[in-house]
Amino acid sequence: MKKPLIIGSSILLILLIPPIRVYMESIMIIHMLVQLPLLIIAGWFLGDYMISKIPKVFILSNDNGVPGIILFVAITMFWMLPRTLDEALTFPMYELFKFVSLPISGILLVDSWGKINDLGRIFIYLNYLSMFALMGWLYLDSPIQICNNYLVDQQKVLGWGFIFITAIMVLYVVQYVFTDQSELEET
């Protein structure tokens, strides 16, 4: 199956095309909530392919999925710091690190998500839920300009973006816990 390889690498290549890259990074919300997630998704597909090719490496390095998920959380949290988004625009090294670390986090995610148990998954999910809510709050409420490269207006838009994602995540939890899950598990 080469399909995941093709999908993953084409997403990555499209994101690398200079005009597309520059355009995406010129708008804060697209930078944070479209480009960064797409990089992770590209990694997800690449990881899918790599696991089928070299399963041994993943078993050796990430047997129970916990180290992988810890690194995934660390990398994604790192890119949520107000500073990193800014620096990626100013320093080419940062930009390079972004295009390397986020696909790697995607590879780690696809490998780890299947390995950790329900409890871990729910915990990670709820963690991101409160983290996104907080990010939304931070960007909406901050009287000061948090990033040097983006205007306060853009900051507000991003804040609402985070709140929107949080709301969707909450709705998903609510529908999950209140609809019957027993039949699904039997099939």
Partner: protein, 493 residues
């Protein structure tokens, strides 16, 4: 559905549960001592520096809520594990994380003088007028975060297990029975209903709590990141109120399990029971706004909702529980001992404790009363005479069915001593409230002092009684499993 599944080793679980109760009990007793010290200081008997007073206030509140929640979670886990498959490993993690959190909080408060009360209202942790530094605030806030993570893990596990066995949290609350899709006989047992309710409200509370705690941490580290204080207050109370409130809904499970066994009667789940628990689930999530009745900037509808729902909040569950308990006990020839006596006392305490709460939840009264000692009066009665008594009841229950440790005369004396003492402590607060004594003041005018001194004396008896309860339970922990009681395995109604 009510078949006993899951845990095949209830006896070895008892050690784990016992540990949570011993820690909870000992911390509660220790916190009572800080309570006495504060009352003595307010009564002018001893002199405590203002800074020290607020450290006491912080540790007293945090410790009491944390310890009671820890022990109550143990009670819930004990009974719930008979119906669904809970993970022992998670419970061990829970205990470990809570302990780490408690140690950090204690160090933050006593070594680094953090004293913003357990409500840590933003932006107080960062702006303390140099009363405490960044390290103290960070230790406290991160300690609370770790403690909360422990609880969150536990509730994720209960939620996961309930969904696995019953299909969904809605079914755990018995919604398909309410809607008539399922017969009443197949309704989930009371333990599951109560646990589902607590899982829902506390998971929500903990997520709100995590958000506001991390927000405070960011603000402490980098004060130029500021946040909307009103939203912060909303989230803080959405966390604090719900979490504190849920303690009694976990602890009450012991009443459901214990009274039918003692009275040898069935306490069947009725539709009314299910509806009541669903209503309380919703109300508990919404009524925290009664903490904001004095914040004029809040939207009016939220405040009105806070008032209206506060009236309604405790009542549904309280009424079905109190009424059910009376029905089960009435003319049953029940054998009264420490466990059943405490269970019954707790129902009395819960009922009586709700009254001052409802008075305070009235906007007009709240404006005058909320910053007086009336409010501590309410929650000392509600927690001390309600929730905590349920925990003690469980301690005696577990000792009885799992060991040959006998109750003595001393325990009976402690029972009455406890009841009178906590009643006096609460009454003292209520009287002070009626005298307009402000709450959270380190120093009192002479006119306010007498009730405080009275409360401190009552507090001493309270500590003695509590110690006797705990000593009994520790004796049980040392003699665990010396009695193969059939009550342990017997299926509950």
């Amino acid at each position: 559905m009510s078949t006993v599944i899951g845990n095949n080793k209830p006896k070895s679980n008892n050690k784990l549960i016992g540990t949570s109760l011993v820690i909870g009990g000992v911390v509660i007793a220790a916190m009572m001592i800080f309570g006495i010290l504060m009352l003595l200081a307010q009564g002018g008997v001893i002199s405590v520096s203002d800074a020290m007073f607020y450290q006491f206030l912080t540790i007293h509140g945090t410790g009491m809520i944390g310890a009671a929640a820890l022990a109550a979670a143990g009670v819930m886990w004990y009974f719930l594990s008979r119906y669904v498959n809970l993970s022992r490993k998670v419970f061990i993690w829970f205990l470990a994380l809570v302990l780490i959190g408690v140690v950090m909080v204690v160090v933050g408060v006593f070594s680094f003088k953090f004293a913003s009360a357990w409500t840590f209202l933003y932006p107080l942790p960062a702006i303390s007028a140099s009363a405490w530094g960044t390290i103290g605030a960070l230790l406290y806030l991160i300690g609370m975060l770790i403690l909360g993570t422990g609880f969150l893990l536990l509730y994720i596990d209960t939620g996961r297990a309930i969904i696995k066995t019953y299909g969904s949290l809605g079914k755990g609350l018995g919604w398909d029975v309410i809607s008539g899709k399922k017969r009443l006989e197949d309704a989930p047992p009371k333990v599951v209903v109560a646990s589902t309710m607590v899982t829902i409200v506390n998971t929500s509370a903990l997520i709100a709590g995590a958000t506001v705690l991390i927000m405070n941490i960011i603000n402490v580290i980098n004060p130029s990141f500021t946040f909307d204080p009103l939203l912060a207050k909303n989230l803080t109370y959405a966390f604090g109120h719900i979490f504190a409130n849920a303690i009694i809904y976990m602890a009450v499970i012991v009443v459901y399990e214990l009274l039918p066994k003692y009275a040898n009667r069935k306490w069947a789940v009725t539709k009314l029971f299910l509806v009541a628990w669903t209503m309380s689930t919703v109300f508990t999530l919404l009524i925290y706004t009664h903490h904001m009745l004095m914040d004029f900037a809040m939207p009016k509808w939220m405040l009105i909702m806070g008032q209206a729902l506060s009236y309604a909040n405790g009542l549904p569950v309280l009424v079905v529980t109190a009424y059910g308990a009376l029905q089960v006990v009435h003319k049953s020839g029940i054998k009264w001992d420490m466990a059943s006596g405490l269970a019954f006392l707790s129902m009395f305490g819960w009922t009586v404790g709700v009254v001052p709460a409802i008075v305070d939840a009235t906007i007009v009264v709240n404006h005058v009363m909320h910053n007086t000692k009336w409010v501590p009066g309410h929650f000392h009665m509600y927690m001390g005479l309600g929730a905590v008594v349920m925990l003690f009841s469980f301690m005696y229950y577990l000792a009885k069915i799992d060991s040959n440790v006998k109750e003595s005369k001393l325990d009976k004396i402690a029972f009455w001593c406890y009841a009178l003492a906590i009643f006096s402590v609460s009454a003292q607060f209520l009287v002070s409230g009626a005298l307009s004594t402000p709450r959270r003041w380190a120093i009192h005018y002479p006119g306010w002092m007498t009730p405080a001194v009275f409360g401190a004396i009552a507090g001493v008896f309270l500590v003695i009684a509590t110690s006797i309860f705990i000593i009994h339970f520790v004796r049980y922990m040392k003699n665990r499993g010396t009695l193969g009681s059939d009550m342990n395995e017997q299926e509950t109604a």
